[in-house]
């Protein structure tokens, strides 16, 4: 996989610190599964945390806590990682796990507009974000839009082009909220993306803004 578009270093630092929202976490972990370069950056960013935390003062732990922990060792069954459902490489493992190993084609996609179908992934109630899969038909031009909040998109299949270049499988668009763009999907195949947002995407033109409540993104 040839990946040209990577995560913002600020996103990787926040990921390493564990402060990203739930939806962003899934998209970032998914990209890292496919992108050794970003995975190495995330590993290094975590070293910063290790060093900062290593400098923390020690707070005495009670004898009770220590002996309780030691007495639990016998009963602590050896942890086995749950078998990750094989996604056959179609999607990154963190996403494959959420989809229960189901192929993308078999998901109950919801058609939201001509050429556009969505599939929502559940998040916990406290999460302020949204996580969904988006399938855009070949050749579709999305309305030009900015991002009221932040958004990270991972391309799973197909490709689109916008003013920043070509985005294909494995590429990630880690867009600043101030950025506006108009992605156009390439004509030969649908483009399927994993999208995490922290606030509703705001389309620019009036018709598009009218469309937004209809398609719900």
């Amino acid at each position: 996989m040839n990946i040209d578009h990577h995560l913002d270093a600020a996103t990787l630092v926040a990921y390493a610190a564990g402060t990203l929202g739930e939806a962003f976490n899934v998209v970032v972990a998914s990209h890292l599964d496919w992108c050794p370069a970003c995975a190495e950056d995330a590993r290094r960013a975590a070293l910063l945390g290790g060093e900062l935390i290593g400098n923390l003062e020690a707070t005495p732990v009670s004898k009770d806590c220590r002996s309780k922990t030691l007495s639990m060792l016998d009963t602590a069954t050896l942890h086995r990682f749950p078998g990750t459902p094989a996604s056959g490489g179609e999607v990154p493992e963190p996403l494959g796990h959420l989809l229960g190993g189901k192929p993308l084609a078999e998901l109950p996609w919801k058609r939201k507009a001509p050429g556009l179908a969505l599939y929502d992934l559940p998040l916990s109630e406290t999460s302020g974000g949204k996580l969904f899969l988006m399938r855009i038909a070949p050749g579709t031009a999305m309305p030009e839009h900015g991002h009221g909040g932040e958004e990270i998109t991972l391309i799973l299949s197909g490709a689109y082009n916008d003013k920043f270049g070509r985005y294909a499988r494995g590429d990630v668009a880690d867009l600043d909220e101030s950025i506006e763009h108009q992605p156009i999907v390439e004509p030969d195949a649908a483009c399927i993306c994993l999208v995490a947002t922290e606030a509703p995407t705001r389309f620019k033109s009036w018709p598009a803004r009218l469309l937004q409540p209809l398609i719900g993104i």
């Binding site: 913002d8 270093a9 600020a10 990787l12 630092v13 926040a14 390493a16 610190a17 564990g18 402060t19 929202g21 739930e22 976490n25 972990a29 950056d41 590993r43 290094r44 960013a45 975590a46 070293l47 910063l48 945390g49 290790g50 060093e51 900062l52 935390i53 290593g54 400098n55 923390l56 003062e57 020690a58 707070t59 005495p60 732990v61 806590c65 220590r66 309780k68 922990t69 030691l70 639990m72 060792l73 602590a76 069954t77 050896l78 942890h79 990682f81 749950p82 990750t84 493992e93 963190p94 796990h97 959420l98 559940p122 916990s124 109630e125 406290t126 999460s127 600043d176 909220e177 101030s178």
Partner: protein, 193 residues
């Protein structure tokens, strides 16, 4: 109780800790585990209390973290970072999950997607050996304003937007300071010693 200068040499601390984790993984060695507990549990507790947890909850999470160290020792991969970083990743994820009690998807599961890798090649371990020292060096040199943001992120667990609000800075400034801090670390790591 650890001597006060236990952080004097992070590299040696880590080499010793790796051997202990290995003994736990291979032989379920309880004495090795007790040593890990004494070395790391007090800092894990400080880390959890910093977030405002009561001492009782903090000890609960210390216990849970260390039990995870016991059960997951076989998955610790030295190529990915120090034992300290690994233990605090466990602690942080457990702490996040405790906050999101109702979450159907524990964050601690995300890390579980890292497949247990084969033992790293010895030259890779050698390359990583000086890393801890480089990280300390890099952190020692970054401007106070970047350090502040790293501390709020890694120690106080604040999201970027919350840091921006607290410091009355635009979000973009918080992000660019994070980028600069990371860029500085990368440069230090890539410099020949």
């Amino acid at each position: 109780m650890l001597p006060k200068d236990h952080r004097a040499d992070p590299k040696n601390e880590d080499m010793a800790a790796r051997r202990l984790v290995q003994r736990v993984a291979k032989n379920l060695d309880r004495a090795a585990f007790a040593e890990l507990f004494d070395a790391f549990a007090p800092r894990v507790k400080t880390f959890i209390i910093r977030k405002g947890a009561s001492p009782d909850l903090a000890e609960d999470l210390v216990q849970e973290t260390m039990i995870n160290v016991w059960t997951k020792a076989g998955y610790y991969d030295p190529a990915k970072g120090s034992v300290l970083t690994w233990i605090f990743t466990i602690a942080r994820n457990l702490r996040i999950d405790r906050i999101r009690r109702e979450s159907s998807r524990p964050v601690s599961e995300l890390g579980d997607f890292d497949p247990p890798s084969d033992a790293p090649a010895s030259e890779e371990i050698l390359a990583r050996k000086d890393e801890a020292r480089s990280v300390a060096r890099a952190l020692g040199k970054i401007p106070r304003e970047q350090m502040e943001i790293l501390t709020l992120s890694f120690i106080d667990d604040l999201p970027q937007a919350e840091i921006a609000r607290r410091l009355k800075l635009p979000l973009g400034t918080v992000k660019s300071r994070m980028r600069l801090a990371y860029g500085h670390l990368r440069k230090t790591l890539e410099q020949p010693n």
